[in-house]
C-alpha cells in the first residue's frame, strides 16, 4: 500500500517549507523566550547590584548572603522549614480528603453518572484561583461568613480565628488542588481490576480489608503522584500564603512566612533582582529535591502486577 503513495519528498520546495516552519517556529520561540529567560535567571543569580544597576561580574555573593541569612537576619531557613511543613501537611490532607471522594464516585455512584460527577467536581478549577482565595478570606475572616453564620445559629462564643494562619493557607491550597487530585485519584481507583476486588470478597475479605489490601495498594501510583503534585504546588504558590496566611501565618512550628511569600517580599522591598534570582534558584533546588523523593517513592513502590 505504501508503495502506491507518492511521498512528496520529490517536491523539495513544499516539503522543506512545511518541515522548517513547523519545527522552526516553536523552536525559535521557546529558545528565545523560555530557554533565554531561564539561562538569564541562572546568570543573574551570580551578578550583583551596585547603585541600583546590575553589575555583570560573577561571584557567589548572593548565595553567601543567603547562607548567612538562613537562621539570622532574613531567616530564610525558617521560611523554608515552614514551606516544607505546610507543603507536606497540605499534600497529606488533600489526598486524605480527596481519596474518599474518588472512592465514593467509583463505588457509590452508578457508572453512567460518574463522568458527570467528576465533571462537576472539576468545575471550580476553571474559575479564577485568586477570586476563590479572596472568597475564602471573606468566609474565614473573624467577622466573616462562617463566624457570622455560627453566631446566627447560636454559637456566640465561636469566633474562630482562621484567617492569617497557615490553616487558612492550607484550605485555599486544598480548594485549588482538589479538582486536579480528584481526576488523578478517580482514574487510579477506576483502573483497579474489579476481578481482584470480587476475588478478595469471595475469599471472605471484609470491605475494609479490600480497601486496605487491594484498592489502596493498587492505586498507589495515583496517590504518590497526587502527594508530590500537591507538595510541589504548595511550595511554589504565592496567593494562598500571602492572602489567607497573611504573610507570616501561625502554624504548629511558629508564626513564620512561606518561602515563596518571602521571595516576593524581598523583591518588593529591595528590587534587587540578582538576589531575588538566587532565592528563586534555591526554591527550584528545594523542589527538585521533592521531585527526587517522589521519584524514589515511585521506584520503591513500583507496581509489579502484570
Amino acid at each position: 500500500m505504501s508503495s502506491v503513495v507518492a511521498r512528496p519528498e520529490t517536491k523539495r520546495r513544499g516539503a522543506n517549507l512545511a518541515k522548517w516552519i513547523s519545527i522552526g517556529v516553536p523552536s525559535l520561540f521557546f529558545g528565545a523566550f523560555f530557554l533565554g529567560p531561564l539561562i538569564y535567571l541562572i546568570l543573574l543569580g551570580f551578578w550583583r547590584v551596585e547603585n541600583y544597576r546590575i553589575v555583570e561580574s560573577y561571584s557567589f555573593d548572593n548565595y553567601i548572603d543567603i547562607a548567612q541569612n538562613l537562621f539570622a537576619g532574613s531567616n530564610y531557613g525558617y521560611a523554608i522549614a515552614q514551606t516544607l511543613y505546610v507543603a507536606a501537611t497540605t499534600a497529606i490532607a488533600a489526598v486524605a480528603l480527596c481519596y474518599p471522594m474518588a472512592l465514593a464516585i467509583v463505588f457509590a455512584v452508578p457508572q453512567r453518572y460518574q463522568r458527570l460527577v467528576v465533571l462537576l467536581a472539576v468545575a471550580p478549577f476553571w474559575t479564577s484561583y485568586i477570586l476563590r482565595v479572596y472568597a475564602w478570606q471573606v468566609l474565614l475572616a473573624r467577622k466573616g461568613v462562617i463566624n457570622a453564620a455560627l453566631s446566627y445559629v447560636g454559637f456566640n462564643e465561636a469566633s474562630i480565628e482562621f484567617l492569617y494562619t497557615q490553616t487558612a493557607t492550607r484550605i485555599g491550597l486544598i480548594h485549588y488542588l482538589a479538582p486536579i487530585l480528584l481526576v488523578i485519584l478517580y482514574v487510579a481507583i477506576n483502573n483497579v481490576d474489579r476481578t481482584l476486588i470480587e476475588a478478595a470478597r469471595q475469599i471472605g475479605a471484609t470491605r475494609l480489608q479490600v480497601l486496605w489490601r487491594v484498592i489502596v495498594p493498587l492505586s498507589r501510583t495515583g496517590i504518590i503522584l497526587s502527594l508530590s503534585f500537591s507538595a510541589l504546588v504548595a511550595c511554589g504558590d504565592v496567593l494562598s500564603g500571602s492572602i489567607l496566611g497573611g504573610g507570616a501565618g501561625q502554624s504548629l512550628i511558629g508564626k513564620l512566612p512561606l518561602f515563596a511569600d518571602m521571595i516576593i517580599r524581598a523583591y518588593t522591598s529591595s528590587t534587587n533582582l540578582p538576589n531575588t534570582a538566587a532565592l528563586a534558584i534555591l526554591l527550584v533546588v528545594i523542589m527538585l529535591l521533592i521531585l527526587g523523593v517522589a521519584y524514589w517513592l515511585t521506584e520503591r513502590f513500583r507496581i509489579n502486577v502484570k
Partner: protein
C-alpha cells in the same frame, strides 16, 4: 462484569456504606462550591461586610464597580492580553504538535520538554526569569511582555489538545492529498489544519483560561497596565469592598460559558482517543 455490578444496584442502594459515600460527595460539593456561591450571593447584598443575615438585595456594588473603573480597566487589559496569548499559543502549539506528530528530527524530545516544562516550573520562578530578561532589553511593563510570557506558559495545554486531535487523524488522509499532487505545505494547510480545527479551538480555550487566570508572572512583568488578577490582588491587599464580589460574579459567569465551550469542544476529543475511528469527518 459491569452487568453484574448494575444488577447489584437495587441491593447497593440501601447499603449504608453507599449512602455514606454519597453523603461525603455531597459534603465535598458544598466545600468546592461554597466560595463561589458566597461571592455571588454577597455581590447582590446591600451590606458592606459579608455577614449573615444579609441586609437585602441590591445592585449598588455593580454600580460602584463600573463607576470606579479600575477593575473594569484591568478586565479590558486581560481581554486583550489573554486572547492574543491564546492565539499565539495555538499557532505555536499547532506547528509544534504537527512537527512532533509528523517528523523525526534531532532535538524532537528536547522541543517537547521545552514546551511542557513551563507548566511544571512554578510560575513564581518564571515570573522572575521573564522580568530579568525583559528588563534587560527594556521590554518589561508593556502589555505585550505579559503576552510573550503567557504564550510560553500556555502553549503546553494548547499543544496537548492539538496533539490528541492529530493522533485521531488517519494517516491515509494526508497520503491521499500527496497522491493528488498536493505539496506538504498544501496538505498541511488544506487537509491537516481543517481536520485539527476542533482541537485548535479547544486548545485555544484552555490556553485562554490559563492565561486569564495567571497572576504571578503578570504581577512581575505587567508594570502599570495590570491584568485582571493583578488588579484584584491590589484590591484585596488594599481595601477590598464588595464591588470585587460583583466583578467575581461576572468572571464566574464568563467561566461558566467557557466551561460549556470546553465541554462541547474537548469532551468529544478526549472521549474518542482511538485513531481511525473518525474517517467520516474528513474535510471536504
Amino acid at each position: 462484569m459491569t452487568m453484574a455490578l448494575e444488577s447489584e444496584m437495587p441491593r447497593r442502594r440501601r447499603d449504608p456504606l453507599v449512602l455514606l459515600g454519597r453523603g461525603y460527595i455531597a459534603a465535598a460539593f458544598v466545600f468546592l462550591l461554597l466560595p463561589i456561591t458566597t461571592l455571588i450571593i454577597f455581590s447582590f447584598q446591600k451590606n458592606q461586610y459579608a455577614s449573615i443575615p444579609g441586609q437585602g438585595w441590591s445592585l449598588r456594588w455593580y454600580e460602584k464597580l463600573f463607576s470606579d473603573g479600575a477593575l473594569v480597566a484591568a478586565l479590558q487589559n486581560s481581554l486583550i492580553v489573554s486572547p492574543v496569548a491564546a492565539t499565539g499559543a495555538s499557532i505555536i502549539g499547532f506547528f509544534a504538535a504537527y512537527a512532533i506528530h509528523r517528523y523525526r528530527f534531532p532535538g524532537r524530545n528536547l522541543l517537547l520538554t521545552l514546551i511542557m516544562l513551563p507548566m511544571l516550573i512554578p510560575a513564581l520562578i518564571l515570573g522572575i526569569a521573564f522580568l530579568g530578561l525583559l528588563s534587560r532589553f527594556g521590554l518589561e511593563g508593556k502589555w505585550y511582555s505579559v503576552v510573550v510570557a503567557h504564550i510560553v506558559l500556555v502553549t503546553a495545554p494548547a499543544m496537548a489538545i492539538i496533539q490528541l486531535r492529530l493522533s485521531q487523524m488517519p494517516a491515509s488522509l494526508e497520503e491521499a492529498a500527496w497522491n493528488l499532487g498536493a505539496t506538504e505545505w498544501q496538505s498541511l494547510t488544506r487537509v491537516v489544519l481543517p481536520f485539527t480545527l476542533s482541537g485548535i479551538a479547544g486548545g485555544w480555550l484552555l490556553a485562554f483560561t490559563f492565561s486569564f487566570d495567571e497572576f504571578i508572572i503578570a504581577w512581575f512583568v505587567c508594570g502599570f497596565s495590570p491584568t485582571l488578577p493583578v488588579s484584584i490582588y491590589a484590591y484585596i491587599v488594599g481595601s477590598a469592598d464588595p464591588s470585587l464580589n460583583a466583578m467575581a460574579t461576572i468572571i464566574f459567569a464568563l467561566s461558566g460559558l467557557f466551561l460549556l465551550g470546553v465541554e462541547l469542544l474537548l469532551i468529544p476529543i478526549l472521549i474518542r482517543v482511538k485513531p481511525g475511528a473518525t474517517a467520516e469527518e474528513a474535510p471536504h
